[in-house]
Symmetry: C2
């Protein structure tokens, strides 16, 4: 197969972890006979520094012309805590999501036997957790108008808005994922307060009969925030709007004890994007110590979701598990054992694949 | 002192737990020589059943004419999962908050040595947690206009709106609480996305110099959702808007392992309201098995916050701790020991006070 992949390393440790994913992707390509080409673009703080724009047109063209985007991380401390800054790296992220039409963010949470003891939760609560969020990513309060201030600047407002179609296309992805998994779908909303949430709930109720094999539950966002800690194993597939998804996927990500390893996918009409859920970790940048496994597992999701190549995806996650079992890991999870460099882990994984 | 207290038992186990708080309040009154009168009102599902209105005018008059309101719980399964129901118990709650001007919801999370092992979190993460949320309660997306649907019903929208004054009065409460505690204030927002959040952050930044002894931190809501699980001891006082507060206070409530014991206060211009954070627990209603300690501790907060009677408040929490130490507790926390009835726990606490 021919694959055109856009690489957006971004800021902080982004370039280092992306470099390891490239090694792994190339190894898989070589082994399975795929022709893979990469094009690199700037995004985030480094793009602001170079061009004044966190998501330059040139980067968008590279992404729009690719089959998939591999993304590292963005964010730089110099843009933090400055609510009045005119240009911020996150704006690039939001514009990229919107311009590429990436309306569904897929965020799995699962555990690794060798890392689950690092969870802040007790073992019986978290061991074997396997859930996945489908977060709506291009609607809601993130993009709704009007937003801003009154003339005197003494009042601020935001608009949360959802159309039925936006809900339908996201919900269908959730239903279909549930059909391939444990057949439980949880619709997360605040239908006792918000008009948008009532449209979500109604729309999901209308779709449900088309998926008779899927059990559908409706839960308020505050209840889910509790149950994710109390009994996360109760969940299979969760669907929700943009802002609730932002909060709950981050909450869910820490329960596994291996946030640095969690991958994600953002799906849309044509191009699909894959990125680790961890941040740009500026303190570690350039030191060759960052954990590349979240990015490598995001590349595995890419083979699966963007190219329908499940075997390739499986091989990548198998070698990742092997690296954990054999202790070929970075210092964050080495626990007294030898700590490998970021680049060494990438080399090891690529060699195992070939 | 003369105290006029409105009692709103509400639904489910509400009446049973309120009855125990009344015993305790009366005992404290007798011991310290306070004259206490109670007036009872309907709220929630029981008020809908009786009058068609979840917060009848008669109830509002009782509350508005009192110094403090003791509130049980509301909610009935027959109103759940029906997004189209015309009248819902929650509407009564929201109207009550608004009409009484209860703009600040105070939600502490702390641990009890004898119960902390019930936390879903590992002991080292949670032992000694002591944080308190100040959640804005009468603004934001809960009340913002416009809200609703377009004509065809294919689009729904909500408005989140905050004025500077709404933020200032809530934030000042947080600053003052922090001054009396560990002097750390965390402002929780989503200033990288929302205009309302940017006004929150700006306003808090403007107030901060007036409280030079308080260290102020600004964190995004998604980050707080993570850190509340990873390291809740890092927090002291948190301030936030209505919707974020709804989600995060519920999340915080389960980490202590004793959600059934957590009290809360809602403060406003004149009347103050006190309630346990647990729900109406309909399965247990009428069985004399519900845990009354959350309501009793809410009564303790009442003496403190509504009447400035710290000694009375302290005595109540001391006897609650004694009941835990001596195992005079309901079945939810009896753990193999003898399970006392709801009413027996109330009698025991009142007797200990006298
Ligand atoms: C950086 C920020 C705008 C972004 C969001 O809120 O979507 C981030 O938190 C995320 O979840 O990817
Ligand atoms: C019942 C509901 C409207 C309410 C809220 O969202 O405020 C509840 O969740 C709470 O936190 O008191």
């Amino acid at each position: 197969m021919e694959m055109h992949i856009a690489l957006l390393p971004g800021d902080g440790i982004g370039p280092e972890v992306i470099a390891q994913a490239v090694k792994v992707v190339n190894a898989v390509g070589q082994k399975f006979g795929h022709t893979i080409t990469f094009k690199e673009g700037l995004v985030g703080a480094c793009a602001i520094d170079a061009t004044g724009d966190p998501y330059p047109d040139a980067t968008h063209e590279i992404c729009a012309g690719s089959d998939a985007v591999l993304f590292g991380a963005i964010g730089d401390p110099k843009y933090d805590n400055d609510p009045k800054a005119k240009v911020r790296p996150e704006q690039g992220l939001l514009r990229m999501r919107q311009k590429l039409g990436l309306f569904a963010n897929v965020r799995p949470t699962f555990t690794f036997p060798s890392l689950v003891h690092k969870s802040p939760l007790k073992l019986d609560r978290v061991d074997g957790v396997d859930l996945v969020f489908f977060r709506e990513l291009t609607g809601g309060v993130y993009f709704g108008e009007p937003r801003g201030r009154n003339e005197q600047g003494t009042k601020a407002f935001d608009t949360n808005v959802y159309s039925k179609e936006e809900i339908v296309r996201l919900a269908r992805m959730g239903f279909e994922a549930a059909q391939k998994r444990r057949k439980l779908l949880t619709c997360v909303d605040k239908a006792n307060v918000m008009a948008t949430s009532r449209l979500w709930r109604e729309t999901v109720q209308e779709l449900a009969p088309e998926y008779p094999d899927v059990k559908v539950e409706y839960e308020f966002v505050d209840a889910v925030a509790m149950r994710l800690i109390q009994w996360p194993k109760a969940y299979d597939v969760l669907i929700t709007e943009n802002l609730f998804g932002d909060i709950l996927t981050d909450e869910a990500s820490v329960i596994s004890g291996s946030m640095g390893l969690m991958p994600s996918a953002s799906l849309g009409s044509k191009v699909k994007l894959f990125e680790p859920i961890h941040g740009s970790y500026p303190q570690a940048a350039g030191k060759d110590i960052a954990n590349p496994l979240g990015t490598v597992l995001s590349a595995a999701m890419m083979f699966d979701y963007a190219f329908g190549l499940a075997e390739e995806a499986k091989l990548i996650s198998d070698v990742v598990n092997l690296s954990l079992a054999e202790g070929v890991v970075t210092e964050d999870i080495a626990e007294g054992g030898k700590a490998y460099k970021t680049s060494e882990v990438g080399d090891w994984l690529a060699a195992k694949i070939l």
